[in-house]
Symmetry: C2
Subunit: 141 residues, 2 copies
Amino acid sequence: MFSNGCEYGIRALTIIGRASKEDRKVGIKEICRLAKTPESFTAKIMQNLVRRGILDSQKGPAGGFYISKDLDSITLYDIVEAIDGTGVFVSCGLGLAHCDASRPCPLHDKFASVRQELKAMCKSNTLNDLLSGLHDQVYKR
Amino acid sequence: MFSNGCEYGIRALTIIGRASKEDRKVGIKEICRLAKTPESFTAKIMQNLVRRGILDSQKGPAGGFYISKDLDSITLYDIVEAIDGTGVFVSCGLGLAHCDASRPCPLHDKFASVRQELKAMCKSNTLNDLLSGLHDQVYKR
DNA sequence: AGAATAAAAGACCTTTTAGTCTTATATTTG
DNA sequence: CAAATATAAGACTAAAAGGTCTTTTATTCT
């Protein structure tokens, strides 16, 4: 459904979000240790999210990643869009470039409603919502 | 959502299914011309589906692909499973190997219901159902 | 039987995704 | 200012997905 990078990104953001609630910055090593994600790859994803304004970072000692925005203002949709784009929310189930209500593929209506529910779910869940489901050992292997 | 190969496979099957209703076999060239899919790649997918018993084929002149099963007995789920496997129907939204109701990831419940709707949709739609939405120029570019 | 036709098989190539590693840059602290 | 620390940037490598091409095998038709 989502790319590996996107899954890693979401997991990492929950770790950072939790720390941010305690006004703590988190280094990439700690993020990846807790999120169980590959370090260099995750770092690259984080940098992309910083550029897109979802995340903040500070270099140097006592630096790390943190979130300055309201955790309720960052939706799952925002995160997925930033990493994977909107394809999963809008593309035709049969991969057609020109599939819409006026020229529907055989799957159009049925697929559209699934996509719609996915989209609604992602729009209605914020990073803060995810934190309530994040107990200490969630990402244990 | 589905792989390219899976999308091609579904499109190709609608072409073959329609022909099978008229007791016609279809060659790979005609299938790909109508389904707008790449020929060699589609052929490979068809061969996989033949091996898995979803599709039948006959070599030689006047040969081609056809479906001998009841078109109502082949669900979208069967097709997706044959080509992409069951991953999309069962995997954790955050990519965790051990995510379930007893040890849920922060997204588990919300994601499970989307996945569930996708699964239900795929199980309840048969190849025959798709044919009613297939008018002549559906896969026109 | 021989020629033509069509799928089967599998080697091969290309592109994208996934992931690593090295070097540079910024920040803090002593 | 120097040393240490941490992110930024980007070149690089590996693996998977996507796709092509050639050869073989089965079937039909003359």
